[in-house]
Symmetry: C2
Subunit: 760 residues, 2 copies
């Protein structure tokens, strides 16, 4: 194996040297917090063979942060623990009981849909009011000062206003809840992948962030607080998936797109029943949103124009496009791929810079404010130097026209583009009649907006990449459309159509979604005829972009050192790596009856911060290369509950005391199990024993020693496992495989790489 | 366990009594055919506890055919056999090799897309020409005879013509390739579920059937014949999924719908890379079809109106629907659910009747002809007695107008509905202006068409249920629309809109698809605004329908006694059933070095027609309740190849002869491995030994004895397994679980049921 792996500059043994270096993307948390139980760092002690292949270099320098794997993320447990308690409870629930459970699942999905939509409505209404307010204040000032020549005052007002708003937002994010930064999509992606991102599914996050993680939170809330039966990772993850779908559905009026988003970005396996529930949440969400907003916009009951972010309906034309445009679309797709890759590369270097130098919350707030001021200044300068005056149409399509130096009855096109909310600008670029934009204006806008958007993504504010990418793409797409119609004088080159294609290409180039994005765009534009070109464009953009660099979300996930499992095991993993290479070894095992003192000592031992322990038969002497025969597996959290409830057998007396505990005790503790340090065990209690048999999972999945990485990966991924026990042919435990053991292996252009493990 | 299971009237031990009873849905095949290797009937000898709970009743009577599980279906093996040969080959393939493999996969998907589209084009053009011809011949006759009063002659001509065409089709199906019967969807559903339906992926089937199974065949062909590397079930199944998507995509111009169809109906797990490839095939298919057909229809390059079956574009109206129509839509959905359930129930009883009494091919052909004659007669009578004359519009939207007894410039509306190809009738019902139809005509049509469609489905002809259901639903939907607009005098009750909603409701009520069907209808009608109502309608139809009876495809799958695995294990299976209840026992095991004679004898033994054999260490004495320690698993097909190539070690000489075989030898034999009877082994060879080690899968998935049915099910389903070894805590083999062992357990309203196993 070691001749195959390309080693990174020091061995995994030395990860403790970097314990102080934290990835500030999800910044440092207080040490004593309840989440401090680390996941399975048994991985650090494995694989003696590759130890110190290269001596550690200066620990200060982290050459490739994306080659680290953080130990701070726990894994979700998608596998049910079918212990005696669970089986007893299941036995009590009759067929009718199962129906009740099933109906509650649908009911929760209904709640998720409604809740998500209502929150989305509130946000939408607030933002709209706010934009109106901002416009009113600014327009008066600008118009006034323009006449007086005091333009710099307008600039100052504008910049201050923007910076102030951004400051508030970024303070909330940087100081109160760092998880709320960014678009929320990478977090959801990780969560659905099976990584427990701390704080993602919390009420606080919902309040701080609102839009991005909105979906998952409403999913998580319903489960965590309301329905006791669903307090386990399995159910929670399903509801988070429903929430994610409902969120996209509400945002873009795209219920099918929402389901596909949830599946394409997250789910590891496809279950029809689950999909139907997700779909249900998604439909309800769109419906509720439409219903409420149609009331708000005084068109009560007009449901046909759905979505929070509405790009306007593309009316069907009979000659939507012809075959000779297909190559053009493919070229636009390729441009999108290249532009997206460039965007991602720049953002990657920027994020690396931020990780190294801007990790203090205060600095983060200052950077966000700086971006706001620079954005205002650049916009202002561009407006100032542009002379792109357009006549105000009869129908007054332009929502916030700025006159500035234009004649009466005209408005400044550049100013309007910058001044509108981005989704309104997208709509204008899609639907304004040909001739509305001056190519120079649009070109300049593209260039400056590209850089600003790139700088903005990754700031400590809750903002996504969807709308900026669409706007950027719509702008250069429209530019291409304008140029084409100038060259060919043909009426087929409708600039609006090319704006749509460009928007798809740019967004596809950045995020690399295909199926779900196609449907989202189809649903958001209310148009099916452009479906085929959009698909072709998205695929081309993905292929071309993948040639250079990964998608933006994946980059950020890697930079956060999340143990993310890909869809497939790395190629060549069949032949080169076996369980015995992958697994963590030695493993801490328990016997079915253990002394309380021994258990407490093991759990308290700082070097043993495992989360799952194989339960074995008595060890038959033997060396340290294997342990007893596998009997079951028990989680740290379960043992903690046992200790908390003093489920001990008194010395000398074997009783059934442990049985007094019910599943409810475990559920009540979910999901925030106290750390072992907070549990007091007296000296006398230490002498008692505890019987793990009724609580352990008696049929854990196990795999033979010589299984390939490939097999392990598939098993792990398909079942959403947290721990997989490796046994020899005698069924003796020889090792344990966790998510991090698998996520360590990554396929790159240089061949198979092994990542380092870092405490941070 | 036995107190939980509701037993069906005789035990599984007695299945041999029914060996003669065959389910003629996939009728009898010659015994000596290469497919005759039966799958794993070790299941028949298990579960002593429930033996003879009820004595067998008269073996002639099969009270519930859907409670039988046929033993004739093999299982696909989605799990890779990672034996030494495989690992060696993988080791030789470098990173570049993997890229080549990956690119070939995309290339095959491209081929699948193009091929599917081209075949679809050919079919479409032939059908169109044929319909024109039929129209020309008939119209002349009918018009002529109408004037002369000799209407009965027209009837005879019409009926004879129909019966003749149907006869040809049904002879092909009944005598040449029975698998081509029906819509093909149940077969594909089973195949993607992991059941090897004999002959589905064959060139002959393609020729006989063409439309229904088209997709899977083009997928299967590319793999089986062209690309040697992909000769294994895993790859084949993926390509079949791509083919299914491409087929739906071509048929309805619904690339996204095609992907979703493939996933919703088939896939057990969702893999992003696979999905992208499927999507690619789907897009290419639509694109190719559009391109070719646009050329054929002399609108070369007009790509915006896709699909073979085109329901016409619903133009967006600003007031597409309002909130008070939502309850109406839900009611229509419920009607669709009830009507669909009624349809399914009648068809179920009809199919039961057919299974019992119409299993001779000749009878099947006669029945098909009878249906054709009756259809013609009823149509004729209805046309004759209707006096629904409609003016021929200026724009001449009606494609095959029949004047009959109407005045000049008018046409008989009923006749036109019956006389058109069904998809043209659907289009007319969707788009003809209000007032085009007389409610009595439409009502009569609904009634008669319902019965005829119900009778037709399940005949020995290649015909589906999609279009008839849509037509039926469109008719009663339009009827509701007409009645609504009569009652309310409101302009919101557009009959076309209600026809669309009704079509969705009826189809949803019959097949119970939701997500994929929504997208298919959205794409086929080119309209997104009706997306939300269609979703609501489909969900309601599904819920209401599921209350009464299952979906039509599921009914037919069950009636064919296919060991189909549901998406989830039956409820309550956690607590009531363990591996030791589920598994087959005893198991035939091999040791790693076996005598050739012993192997041949075991394989030839008629009572042992297993397909997978655990390979174990030497048995350490012990009782018959367990075998040696699990070392690997080997398939019957692999042993057959070994025997065929005489990969023996001569007596007394241990050599490496077995190693001379390469993976290619196994691939060449795929997928039609010869039966053991065809392999001659001399007396001398019988004395040789064979070493199974390099060929067996050394790391088979195994599960402990006390794992619940639930866990086994998830493992089996998620990984697409064929065999799962059950081991005790010493890692001794105690049993084997196959697909049939799991499919036996079914959840019904009475609780958990166990199905019988039947040879047929």
């Amino acid at each position: 194996m070691s001749n195959v792996l390309k080693k990174i500059s020091w061995s995994s043994r030395d990860h403790n040297a970097h314990a102080g270096e934290r990835s500030p993307l999800l910044p440092a948390r207080p040490q004593g917090s309840p989440e401090a139980v680390e996941d399975d760092p048994e991985v650090t002690s494995q694989d003696d063979k590759i130890q110190n292949v290269h001596p550690p270099s200066s620990p200060k320098e982290i050459p490739h942060t994306e080659n680290l794997l953080s130990l701070k993320y726990e894994s979700l447990d998608y596998d049910n623990c079918e212990n005696q308690l669970f089986l007893e409870e299941e036995r009590k629930i009759g067929p009718r009981g199962f129906r009740v459970v099933e109906i509650s699942r649908w009911f929760i999905c209904l709640l998720i849909g409604i809740l998500t939509a209502l929150i989305a409505c509130i946000i939408d209404i607030i933002i709209e009011k706010f934009a109106d307010l901002k416009y009113l204040v600014l327009k008066d000032k600008i118009d006034a000062f323009t006449l007086n020549g005091g333009l710099s005052v307008s600039l100052v007002i504008w910049a201050t206003m923007n910076a102030g708003i951004v400051m508030l937002g970024s303070i909330l994010v940087a100081f109160v809840e760092p998880v709320a930064a960014g678009s929320g999509v990478p977090q959801i992606k990780c969560y659905l992948n099976g990584v427990k991102i701390p704080h993602v599914v919390r009420l606080k996050t919902l309040l701080v962030k609102v839009l991005g993680v909105i979906f998952s939170v409403s999913g998580g809330l319903a489960v965590g607080k309301i329905f006791e039966h669903f307090r386990r990772d399995t159910e929670k993850r399903d509801f988070v998936a429903a929430g994610a779908a409902a969120g996209v559905s509400a945002a873009f009026g795209a219920p099918v797109g929402g389901v596909l988003f949830s599946l394409e970005e997250g789910a590891s396996f496809w279950n029809q029943y689950l999909t139907w529930r997700i779909f249900f949440a998604s439909v309800i969400s769109t419906f509720t949103l439409n219903f409420v907003l149609s009331g708000y916009h005084s068109q009560f009951g007009q449901l046909a124009n759905p979505g929070l972010i509405n790009f306007g309906r593309f009316e069907d034309k009979n000659e939507a496009y012809t075959w000779f445009e297909i190559p053009l679309f493919l070229i636009i797709g390729a441009i999108g791929g290249i532009s997206g890759a460039l965007f991602n590369s720049i953002n990657y270097w920027l994020t690396m810079f931020r990780i190294r130098y801007i990790h203090r919350p205060l600095l983060q707030v200052l950077e966000a404010m700086l971006v706001a001021v620079v954005t205002a200044t650049i916009s202002f300068l561009m407006i100032y130097f542009s002379d792109d005056c357009q006549p105000l149409g009869e129908d007054n399509v332009v929502e916030y026209p700025l006159q500035l130096f234009c004649k009466d009855g005209e408005y400044n096109s550049m100013a309007t583009t910058f001044f509108n909310t981005p989704e309104k600008s997208v709509r204008s670029l899609f639907h304004d009649p040909p001739g509305s934009y001056n190519p120079t204006t649009v070109g300049l806008f593209c260039l400056s907006y590209f850089l600003l958007a790139c700088w903005t993504y990754g700031l400590s504010v809750s903002s996504g990449i969807f709308i900026p990418s669409l706007l950027l793409g719509a702008a250069w797409g429209r530019l291409i459309g304008i140029l084409l119609s100038n060259i060919s004088n043909a009426n087929w080159a409708d600039p609006g159509k090319y704006a749509l294609i460009g928007a798809a290409a740019q967004l596809g180039g950045v995020v690399r979604m295909t199926l779900s994005l196609t449907v989202i765009i189809m649903e958001a534009t209310g148009n099916v005829s452009y479906g085929l070109p959009i698909m072709l464009v998205l695929m081309t953009a993905k292929w071309v972009g993948d040639f250079f660099i990964e998608g933006l979300y994946d980059i950020h996930i890697k930079l956060q050192s999340v143990p993310f499992l890909d869809w497939e095991p790395p190629a060549t993993s069949h032949s080169h790596i076996a369980s015995s290479d992958v697994m963590s070894h030695p493993v801490v095992c328990f016997q079915r009856i253990e002394k309380v003192g021994h258990v407490v000592d093991l759990l308290s031992d700082a070097t043993c911060n495992h989360n799952g322990f194989p339960v074995v038969d008595e060890q038959d002497g033997g060396g340290s290369d294997h342990f007893g025969k596998l009997r079951g597996i028990i989680l740290r959290s379960q043992i903690i509950v046992l200790l908390k409830h003093k489920a001990f057998i008194e010395r000398g007396k074997y009783g059934m005391l442990g049985y007094r505990l019910t599943l409810k005790d475990f559920r009540d503790a979910y999901p925030r199990f106290p750390p072992i340090q907070s549990i007091h065990v007296s000296q006398e209690e230490r002498e008692c024993t505890m019987d793990l048999t009724p609580f352990m999972n008696p049929a854990p999945y196990s795999i033979p020693q010589d299984a390939s990485l490939n097999r392990i990966f598939r098993l792990f991924r398909a079942l959403g496992l947290r721990h997989l026990v490796v046994c020899n042919s005698e069924n003796h435990v020889v090792g344990l495989v966790t998510r991090k053991d698998l996520a360590r292996y990554r396929w790159s252009e240089h061949g198979l790489e092994e990542l380092l493990l870092a405490q941070a």
